[in-house]
């Protein structure tokens, strides 16, 4: 596909990296020549220096041949306008990033009336992701499939955990029921575990379950943390606002610590139920005074990545809380794994993932649709959900027979047929109309047939 990306910031860069890896032809547009060059020097994309809102610049970027335009400049208005012009100038699909909460209320109006295909709000995306994790505090990350009915829950194997030292094939005996663990991350390495695989402390295992089984599973393996009742957020930005709103509506007692009194009074106007504290969130005494020790959840959402990391480490040290830190900029993934942070959220990657999923589904062949896509462990593995539209080599064959024909390192996690979720065994088969979730170490698949050799 021909893709134009307007705006070469953090998200723009991530998008070029990931979409470029999937053999798309990418043209980037930005007003700042340095930013354009930093991308074209490093990645295989063409750069154009200019204003993406201008028709002429878009012409130069080849808007008449483009299939997709993604506007991710710093300004919402520019992004919207850019997409509108692109709609008129070419026949491409358009994606805009819009982050102002004011516009967020009108998102569906904007999308329909301006003819946009997708509007992304990274802050809202981030807030939703954090809120989802708070439903299962034991998890590091949760990816949902089949409209939320199936979850892929990533959790860290602790010392006391029942899984520590257990072999995968013995899992069923110990638990008394069957769950599927399609993926384990150990250090930098991603493993698709086989029966003789044994878990170690520090592994991040991923379990594919329904929400109901999940709570049973976590109780059984020794995670005691129950429902989140109290949450403390440091930093009063847009994410905090969205998150607090979600948490409050779920009945969680939410406290926001923010240093700027103007922001505080604004928040208190918009969120009457929340407790707003005006003070320095990096002050250990203030945190303790406000009851950090008894908070179930702690989220560091300040503007500084370093501060967020340290805050989360501090919270982990002082209490038993679930600590989440937001990281905007820095990209030391290998290091972040080492310092045993609980959960780190990268808004940049969340945004990029959503766009990538959209691009992948555009690229669909007729046989199947990519419904969901999650990149795992910095792109070393992927979890994909396909909707099977047509019979092919993979349909109507028992998985037992299919397994010899599959590529290496592929795990078929679940098949959703109507209201029923099947965790497949050798006798099950994929049928037309199924939603199939597959975890694999291959990247860039657009069709379910791609899992075959």
């Amino acid at each position: 596909m021909n893709i134009i990306i307007v705006g070469c910031g953090k998200v723009g860069h991530t998008l070029v990296e990931q979409l470029g890896g999937e053999q798309h032809d990418i043209v980037v547009v930005d007003l700042n020549p340095d930013k354009v060059h930093s991308i074209t020097d490093e990645l295989d994309a063409q750069g154009i220096v200019g204003n993406g809102v201008s028709y002429q610049t878009l012409q130069e970027a080849g808007i008449d041949r483009a299939d997709l335009l993604i506007a991710v400049t710093a300004s919402d208005e520019q992004n919207l306008l850019c997409c509108c012009i692109a709609r008129q100038a070419g026949h491409c699909k358009t994606i805009a990033r819009v982050r102002n909460p004011l516009y967020n209320e009108e998102i569906s109006f904007l999308r329909d009336k301006l003819g946009l295909d997708l509007i992304i709000n990274p802050e809202l995306l981030t807030a939703n992701e954090i809120a989802r994790i708070f439903q299962f505090p034991s998890a590091v990350k949760i990816d949902t499939f089949s409209k939320g009915r199936l979850e892929l829950i990533h959790f860290r194997v602790t010392k006391e955990c029942l899984l520590n030292g257990l072999k995968l094939m013995n899992l069923k005996e110990v638990l008394g029921f069957n769950v599927l663990i399609p993926l384990v991350t150990r250090g930098d390495e991603v493993i698709i575990p086989r029966g003789d695989f044994s878990f170690e402390e520090g592994d991040v295992a991923s379990v594919a379950t329904t929400a109901k089984t999940a709570s049973m599973f976590f109780r059984k393996i020794g995670f005691t943390s129950g429902r989140t009742r109290t949450a403390m957020l440091v930093g009063g930005g847009t994410i905090s606002y969205y998150l607090a709103k979600r948490l409050l509506s779920a009945g969680i007692n939410t406290k926001i610590i923010e240093i700027d009194d103007k922001v505080c009074s604004e928040l208190s106007e918009k969120l009457p139920e929340a407790t707003i504290i005006c003070g320095d969130g990096t002050d250990e005494r203030l945190l303790l005074q406000e009851g950090l020790e008894s908070a179930d959840g702690f989220v560091a959402l300040t503007g500084l990545d370093e501060e967020n990391i340290l805050l989360a480490l501090l919270a982990r040290k002082l209490s038993n809380t679930k600590a989440v830190s937001k990281i905007n900029r820095i990209n030391f993934n290998s290091l972040l794994g080492d310092i045993k942070l609980d959960t780190t959220i990268f808004p940049r990657l969340l945004t990029a993932n959503l766009i990538l999923r959209y691009a992948r589904s555009m690229n669909d062949s007729l046989g199947s649709n990519v419904e969901n896509l999650y990149r795992l462990e910095d792109g070393k593995a992927e979890a994909l959900e396909f909707y099977v539209k047509e019979p092919s080599g993979v349909t109507d064959t028992p998985l037992m027979q299919l397994s010899s024909k599959l590529k290496k390192d592929i795990n078929i996690c679940s098949i959703t047929r109507g209201n029923q979720i099947i965790f497949p065994t050798g006798q099950d088969e994929i049928k037309v109309g199924d939603y199939v979730v597959i975890v694999m170490k291959h990247c860039g698949m657009t069709d379910i047939k791609d899992i075959l050799k």
Binding site: N2, D25, P33, D41, E42, L43, D44, A45, Q46
Partner: protein, 480 residues
């Protein structure tokens, strides 16, 4: 410096060259030169095996930053030339290896200056390989690899930058591989059309093929001792036209293929290029009209020599060393001029002269209005300061290299015209100069030391100086 990755790519180069060497092998067999064909096939096998051995050690990371890109291209070209010279010596046609290396470098860099007094004594296989090396070197072997094997991802732009010509190398389409493919498709198209046209004009297939290699690659190795002189007038005109076409920026052809005619004809560099050819031809025609029987003949020789020199090809149909001083001076100035950027031609490139000319006007303007803010524009775009600076540094390095080479080869004690035009012809990848190295002369008289200096000049000229200079800088070879 990522040494293993650099070595890995050099391994590729050797294997590609081995594949290319199969062509002269076939030619050798066709003309019954079995011994020479055997030499080529053995060299090809050895080169392939060598590449295989080098490639055994797989690089850990495939990162190739600017300095690796530049160094890889420089070393790759040296390695390619060194292997390409082997058959000349092994077949016994050029017994001295330094001479063979000179001939091979002159081929790959599309210079076309020879050390052979009479090329007609060479076997067909050697003649073909000489001319074919122009074709390989014209568009560049790295661009060729990128067109076929996607081995480096995003970083390959660093290799393309080092090998392609012009002050600001860009891509025609977003992907390096597609850009490389388009360039080679245009190149191949020109070659095939040219070959057919030459044959229609009355050349034999072997002559047409070798001549078109020298033409589209802007090389200039002829297969006759008197270059193109003995061919018919129609052949000479056909060659003139294809030389001019080869010196045009390839993005013009790309725009034409995409039916963006307005864009194709609005590139100011190309307008200047065609204008310069027209004016120079007119002046020289008038200047030499007494030498030839008709105006038509004068015009033909003038046009041929002008296009041959400005595109840095180096074919000749007349001994222009005997022409009046004005004509010779114009040709020497054209030697510095060069073809368009983004073409297969060498030299300084017209776009660089345009940028430098505009810089001079800008500088003068700032003297009149000291607080004036003025940017240099070209084809409706602002030329970035970075490009202007690189152009100025290019010019400075160019003259340093030229003067130093001039000093070094003057040890051989030839006259100044020979030395000066010899260095200029080498550095700009033209081929013939004036005096002893004129169209009827050759470089055989120089000492081995001078030949090595000139070999460096040819490589520096083809790779636009910096890749050859960077490998001389010790810091380039440090790991840290």
């Amino acid at each position: 410096m990522n040494f293993t990755m650099v070595a890995y790519i050099i391994g590729w180069i050797l294997q590609i060259e081995a594949a290319f060497m199969l062509l002269p092998t076939i030619v050798g067999f066709c003309y019954g030169e079995t011994e020479h064909a055997a030499v080529y096939i053995i060299t090809a096998l050895v080169s392939f095996a060598l590449g295989l051995v080098i490639k055994l050690k797989k690089p850990k990371t495939r990162d190739l930053y600017t300095r690796e890109g530049f160094a890889t291209v420089a070393i790759g070209w040296i390695a390619m030339s060194a292997v390409g010279a082997v058959p000349f010596t092994a077949t016994g046609d050029i017994p001295n290896y330094i001479d063979a290396l000179f001939e091979s470098v002159s081929g790959f860099t599309t210079t076309g200056g020879s050390i052979l007094p009479n090329v007609e004594t060479l076997s067909h296989a050697n003649l073909f390989w000489r001319s074919f090396s122009h074709w390989i070197g014209g568009m560049g072997v790295f661009v060729f690899i990128m067109a076929i094997f996607p081995i480096m991802g995003g970083y390959s732009i660093n290799l393309m930058r080092a090998e392609s010509t012009g002050p600001a190398v860009g891509k025609l389409v977003p992907r390096v591989q597609k850009t490389a493919k388009i360039l080679y498709a245009i190149y191949l198209g020109l070659t095939v059309i040219g070959c057919i046209v030459f044959m229609i004009c009355g050349m034999s297939f072997f002559d047409a093929a070798t001549t078109i290699f020298g033409t589209v690659g802007t090389g200039g190795y002829g297969i006759k001792a008197d270059s193109i002189t003995s061919y018919s007038a129609s052949v000479q005109w056909a060659i003139t036209i294809f030389m001019i076409l080869s010196g045009i920026n390839y993005s013009v052809y790309f725009c034409l293929l995409r039916r963006q005619f307005k864009d194709a004809f609005s590139i100011s560099e190309v307008k200047w290029y065609l204008g310069i050819i027209l004016v120079s031809t007119a002046i020289i025609t008038w200047n030499i009209h007494g030498f030839y029987s008709s105006v038509g003949e004068s015009a033909r020789h003038a046009a041929f020599q002008v296009s041959s020199i400005i595109t840095t090809t180096g074919f000749s149909t007349a001994d222009f060393d005997l022409w009046p001083s004005l004509s010779k001076t114009i040709l020497v100035i054209l030697m510095f001029c060069g073809a368009c950027s983004g073409s297969t031609g060498g030299g300084m490139k017209i776009s660089r002269w345009l940028i430098m000319g505009k810089t001079i006007f800008k500088e003068l303007s700032t003297m009149v209005h000291p607080r004036q803010v003025k940017k240099i524009h070209m084809d409706g775009h602002v030329v970035e300061h970075e490009t202007v600076r690189a152009t100025n540094v290019y010019l400075a390095s160019y003259f340093f290299i030229m003067l130093l080479s001039l000093l070094l080869i003057s040890i051989d004690n030839f006259d100044f015209t020979t030395n000066f035009t010899g260095v200029v012809a080498m550095l700009n990848n033209i081929g013939p100069g004036l005096g002893l190295v004129g169209p009827t002369g050759n470089f055989a008289g120089f000492s081995s030391f001078s030949k090595i200096v000139l070999i460096f000049d040819m490589l520096a000229g083809r790779l636009e100086l910096f890749p050859m200079l960077i490998i001389l800088k010790p810091a380039c070879w440090k790991k840290y």
